[in-house]
């Protein structure tokens, strides 16, 4: 088990702030954040390559402060393969085994086993230079596993691979995790994260802003970053208030715009709302319907998406609406056209801060 306690680290203008989390044995822990959020620095702090300014790291209950890098049982696989260019595939994988002073036979046995596990047996006699990116990454993983690490750290290990290779590598990582290996995987890619993990932490500007199961985190996104990750375009911070006209309803105020929300939360609470872009209707005239949120606005941008079009409407705030090609053609939507949008209070969800 890895316990990270209140780690602070300042490098130039960048700071890791009070990083605190626990990874249990067998976890597939994913740390998500944009580039520059501090993910890689955090990994280097965990390995011991960087010394934190304050805070503690416990591995299996033992404080790692005075444990040098080479004695921490933490392996790391970087974004780009880090194979030693002056050694063959076999020599690379056996590098950590030689350090352990294993017998020659034992080394051969273990390398073969690792190669089999990572599906690279056919590459053992090859030179590093002849490997493809995906092959090199597998060899790197095999070499790291040879140290039998307590924790395997992966720093964006899939980002240089094409889709096909990514799939293969993802299933390899899942297999490694299922064999009992604890993994901390750092990424900026939501798809990559969600298919593997059982625990997620979101890091932004050197601070962990949310942790939990993927479901917990993605159902209650605490920041625009998380919301954007899962495809929620309409994410706003604001305050929940009592509606002026109807005593029962509540409105959410953002920049002077009031949106009706169904929520049992108390008034005057700060929080965020999300509005799914599929649930918003565009019309040329104001329509009478059960939707009580009706706004007049101007089309700011139109982009094509996988499923149709995304229309960005300025109603004082930018609201993203997902529509089909038929609707776009039918309503002759174009930039600067003035239109109405409407959505039900029930399609707005409020998340308390």
């Amino acid at each position: 088990m890895l316990r990270i306690e209140k780690i602070n680290k300042k490098i130039g203008k960048f700071t890791l702030n009070n990083i605190d989390f626990t990874v249990d044995k067998g976890d597939y822990f994913v740390l998500i954040g944009e580039s520059g959020a501090g993910k890689s620095i955090l990994l280097e702090v965990i390995t011991g390559l960087l010394i934190p300014d304050s805070g503690k790291i416990f591995l299996n209950g033992k404080d790692q402060q005075n444990t040098p890098v080479q004695n921490r049982k933490i392996g790391i696989v970087y974004q780009k393969p880090t194979l030693f260019p002056h050694m063959s595939v076999f020599e690379n994988i056996s590098y950590p085994l030689k350090i352990k002073k294993l017998s020659k036979n034992e080394i051969i046995k273990q390398v073969n086993q690792l190669a089999e596990d990572t599906e690279i047996s056919h590459l053992l006699i090859r030179n590093i230079a002849n490997l493809s990116g995906g092959e090199a990454q597998r060899v790197t993983i095999a070499r790291t596993l040879a140290t039998k690490p307590d924790i395997l750290l992966l720093d964006e290990p899939l980002s240089f691979l094409d889709v096909q290779l990514k799939r293969g590598m993802t299933s390899l990582l899942r297999k490694i995790n299922q064999s009992g290996q604890t993994i901390i995987h750092v990424t900026h890619d939501y798809d990559e994260a969600v298919s593997l993990t059982n625990k997620i932490a979101i890091i932004e500007n050197g601070t962990i802003i949310q942790t939990g199961t993927p479901q917990e985190v993605f159902q209650n996104p605490k920041s625009i970053f998380v919301a954007n990750f899962i495809g929620i375009r309409n994410f706003f911070k604001g305050r929940l208030l009592k509606a002026k006209d109807q005593s029962e309803s509540k409105v959410f105020e953002i920049n002077g715009i009031s949106i009706f929300v169904l929520s049992e939360e108390d008034e005057n609470v700060l929080g965020n709302i999300t509005i799914t872009s599929e649930s918003i209707i565009i019309s040329e005239e104001k329509i009478e319907s059960s939707a009580i949120n009706n706004f007049f606005g101007t089309i700011k941008e139109i982009y094509e998406t996988k499923l149709g079009f995304e229309v960005l409407v300025d109603i004082g705030i930018d609201i993203s609406v997902q529509i089909s090609r038929q609707s776009l053609d039918h309503l002759k939507l174009k930039i600067n056209k003035e239109i109405w949008i409407s959505f039900k209070a029930s399609s707005v969800s409020f998340i308390k801060n």
Binding site: V69, Q70, Y78, T82, P85, H86, P96, I99, A129, A146
Partner: protein
């Protein structure tokens, strides 16, 4: 445009050719005006044989002995940042820019029999002045920058993340140095060793001040020229140049072959 470039190209080829001629012509002229028989006769002289052997062995010793400290220093300068690093980088190039006779004089002050170092040597039963030990010190002083600079370049080119990864794989810092940093910087270091050795081999100014005897070949050439004149000096000069060139070519071939082997690996 392309015509102008062609003219420029021609000018460059002409200027470059003149320069090459400047290097080759004196050597070639000397070879042509020296009778082969006299070279063979010179080669048979024990005095000459001893001198050439002394020059080669002391220059190899200087290179090997001083590389033990030069390579670690190069590593520190390539990897670590510390106050006054720029000054240290300047210091290591001082031997290149000062006159070598001046270097000899300065060294003599440190290693002469009256100096502390000289006294220690004396108590151990040897002396730097007029001895192979002194020759080695003089050669090393003037040639060490070549190794240092090449090795610094070599270590800078070793990706730091490979060293970090090796640490996480359980290697101690010493092991990382010997199994990762040193092998990956080896090409540059080897070139540096050859350059240092070549520079030491040809050193005259610093050596003559510290050790006129035993006589290294550059000093012998000077002595014969002073005592007997140009014609008598040519055979030993030609012989020494031939031996130096031969060793140089062989060393370069060896290092190039190694390089090719490595390149094949990296493709």
């Amino acid at each position: 445009m392309s015509r102008r470039f062609d003219i420029l190209n021609l000018v460059f080829v002409f200027l470059g050719g003149l320069l090459l001629l400047f290097i080759i012509a004196p050597l070639f002229g000397m070879f042509l005006t020296t009778v082969p028989v006299s070279i063979f006769d010179t080669a048979k002289e024990t005095e000459v044989q001893k001198s050439i052997w002394l020059t080669i062995s002391t220059s190899i010793a200087a290179t090997l002995i001083f590389s033990i400290a030069a390579i670690p220093l190069a590593y520190l300068l390539a990897r670590k940042n510390f106050p006054l690093k720029k000054i240290v980088l300047g210091i290591i190039n001082i031997p290149v820019i000062i006159p070598h006779s001046a270097a000899g004089i300065a060294l003599l002050g440190v290693i002469s029999r009256d100096s502390a170092l000289g006294k220690i040597a004396e108590s151990l039963g040897f002396s730097f002045v007029n001895s192979p030990a002194g020759i080695i010190v003089a050669m090393a002083f003037v040639s060490i920058p070549y190794l240092l600079n090449a090795a610094i370049d070599g270590f800078i080119n070793v990706p730091e993340h490979l060293e970090k990864v090796a640490l996480t794989l359980g290697a101690s810092k010493a092991r990382v140095f010997f199994t990762i940093s040193l092998p990956l910087a080896w090409r540059n270091i080897l070139t540096g060793l050859i350059m240092m050795w070549g520079r030491g081999l040809s050193e005259f100014g610093a050596v003559i001040i510290i050790a006129y005897h035993p006589m290294v070949t550059p000093v012998m050439i000077f002595e014969r020229f002073n005592s007997f004149g140009l014609q008598y000096t040519k055979p030993v000069t030609v012989l020494f140049i031939c031996i130096c060139l031969a060793i140089f070519i062989v060393m370069n071939l060896i290092s190039r072959r190694k390089r090719n082997a490595e390149n094949r690996e990296n493709k």
